[in-house]
Amino acid sequence: MQKDASLDAKGLMCPMPIVKLAKKIKEMQVGQVLELIADDPGAKEDVPAWCQRTQNELVETKQEGSVFYFYIKKKV
């Protein structure tokens, strides 16, 4: 997956991955893709919910063991 930036939120639990994600996306340009890496089990539901609410696009999600990789395209 092509990405423009990466944010490692491993070890962080709710709400920190979402707070950091929001801050990071704000710094990026529309159309760019952010890779978010998280191992908070809640992130699996939280990140899609954040994308839906903020109208950004969750392009791809993958899981390796207990680690999630989210690819989020900034839309707004």
Binding site: A9, L12, M13, P15, I18, V19, K23, T54, V76
Partner: protein
């Protein structure tokens, strides 16, 4: 965003758990692009005073440091840092005017940016919100 969701939170207790809960919801909501309003009343009032340092409730008070340490280990900072974050994220903080009188809190004791309101003014704000939470 066209349709900004609004959240109203009332905090009526000043213990560590209630304090953290209110700001974790507030900071998440603000990070999701929502508009957040928090009204601090009764024992919740002291949370918006300078140098507020809430303790865990009852006998757990003694374990406040342990809670803080465990939360820090998962990236959640202490109450003061969360409050600073809330202000940076544009969360609106209010102090209940009546509680200030009852609890002897002066306007200059409040954190900068905290607005003093009565119940009617807060209800007027809450009436326009999509979600309302009471933490007490």
């Amino acid at each position: 965003m066209a349709n900004v969701k609004k959240v109203a939170i009332v905090v009526a207790e000043g213990t560590f758990d209630k304090a953290m809960m209110s700001l974790m919801i507030a900071n998440t909501a603000a990070s999701m692009g929502m508009e957040v309003h928090i009204f601090h009343t009764f024992f919740g009032l002291k949370l918006v005073t300078k140098n507020a340092n809430p303790k865990a409730p009852g006998m757990y008070r003694l374990f406040t440091g342990m809670f803080k340490k465990k939360m820090k280990a998962v990236g959640v900072e202490d109450y003061a840092a969360n409050k600073k974050m809330a202000i940076e994220l544009g969360v609106n903080m209010y102090a209940c005017g009546t509680s200030m009188g009852v609890m002897n809190v002066k306007a200059e004791d409040l954190d900068p940016g905290v607005k003093i309101l009565g119940a009617a003014a807060f209800l007027n704000i809450a009436a326009e919100t999509d979600m309302q939470y009471f933490i007490g």
